[in-house]
Symmetry: C2
């Protein structure tokens, strides 16, 4: 997966991922708490953007946070150490070849990972095996098809579509958020409940205008300029017009909408 | 506006509007309460789908509910009488030629009306004049551009686009929900706050599968089949495929998303 990771591994990209985590923490994570002593597997922790929130909100739970990238794990570990968190063990592991025994965990947490996988149901089914009966999985994914804004702009939609196409080429799915419910059901989880987390931004919410519209979403789309043009998906001028129009939605009369989906399911039997 | 009203005035359409109101009452209206004795103007009450909710939730407020259609007003009045509501006065009036004096009301309520107007800011500015300083306006609008679903379908999006095009031809805007904030600001309201009300439907929410995906949204799009084909916007086969695909999203593994926008603003001065 390393080569294909559409968001890249550069310093600027890591900064974007941190901004995103900062602006969205409450929206996405405020209802996630794990009991004292519970064993939680975080899958695809990356540079620890979500890990620090999880660990601080459930200080008595014991986290095992895995990622495929050693470099990301090193950054995540350093970050958690700086924050004084001692309840997280980091480990390099592949989601499709997990080194843990069946039912080794009480809870599994998967955030912004399935969007990069060609076989998300298979991944979820493997994670199901990691859970004790009655354990839970929490899945959070975005959906670029949930993006709309004012003023509307065909060029902006075309630029966003480049990201969707590149992610598809890499085997992923940038429109996966809406599928969290059927994916969890298909993987055998029960009592599945999905709740959308919509980010609505207008100029009465300046922290979101800056933290989400500009520095999270538009910066992410801007980040695929070179590969999108190189792949012949779009002309440079049209891409740049799309980015300008996305920044335009961050002005005083602009509006920007995006939705994340959070799903929770229960493991019924240790399959 | 009568001839141009895109939803039509037929019995089946009125049934759809009632189903819609039933399924969405809590989502859209649970936070709307008016104090005892306050004078509330409801603009574009239609057949009373929202009126009955407003009147029952604020039984001590006095409502004046206006519409351009005598036939709709008659149905609304009959409906309110049947429900035993006595705090609503119905009156035929044009939003652009209101028969009330300046500052005649404490609150104004406008639901699913701006989408049909070619000059929504002008309408809101006229309504602003109806309010006492410190009075509030509440605006609720949908946005067909907020529609996405699983399985995705280009034909379904094309069918929806017919409704958007027909509404545009009639002088309206089916994508107006996202503009509630800038429209209220442009009309001179202050302290404007907009909150999206997303309808998320999967098969764990069967009342919404039936009440919203099937009987509200898909039925509405189905209702423009004849005018869309007559206007040359789409081939009959493609439209029908789109409708089939919309119904497909109501099956066990389907997901359907739509968002309404509710905005509240304050009248600062009696302009």
């Amino acid at each position: 997966m390393t080569e294909a990771y559409v968001h890249g591994y550069h310093a600027k990209e890591n900064e974007r991922l941190r901004d995103q985590a900062g602006a969205l923490v409450d929206l996405l994570h405020s209802d996630t708490h794990y009991p004292a002593g519970s064993r939680v597997l975080e899958v695809g922790c990356g540079v620890g953007a979500q890990t620090i929130t999880l660990a601080q909100r459930s200080p008595e739970a014991r986290f095992t946070s895995i990622d495929i990238s050693e470099a990301s794990l090193a950054q995540a570990a350093e970050r958690l150490t700086r924050a004084g968190c001692t309840n997280v063990a980091f480990q390099r592991a592949d989601i499709f070849a997990l080194p843990f025994g069946a039912a080794a965990f009480d809870h599994v947490f998967v955030c912004f990972v399935l969007e990069h996988l060609a076989r998300p149901v298979q991944a979820l089914a493997l994670l199901h095996r990691q859970l004790r009966p009655g354990g839970t999985i929490t899945v959070i994914e975005g959906d670029h098809g949930s993006t709309y804004f004012h003023p509307d702009s065909a060029a902006a939609h075309a630029a966003i579509q480049c990201q969707v196409a590149l992610q598809r080429t890499a085997g992923g799915n940038a429109l996966i958020g809406r599928q969290v419910y059927p994916l969890l059901v298909a993987a055998g989880f029960s009592a599945v409940r999905v709740s959308p987390r919509m980010v609505y931004v207008d100029s009465s919410r300046p922290h979101l205008v800056d933290g989400f519209t500009r520095k999270t979403f538009t910066a992410m789309i801007e980040g695929v300029r070179a590969p999108a043009i190189a792949a012949g998906l779009i002309e440079a001028e049209r891409f740049d017009a799309g980015i300008r129009d996305l920044y335009r939605t961050a002005e005083a009369d602009g509006v920007f909408c995006y939705t994340f989906f959070k799903g929770v399911g229960e493991a019924t039997v240790s399959s």
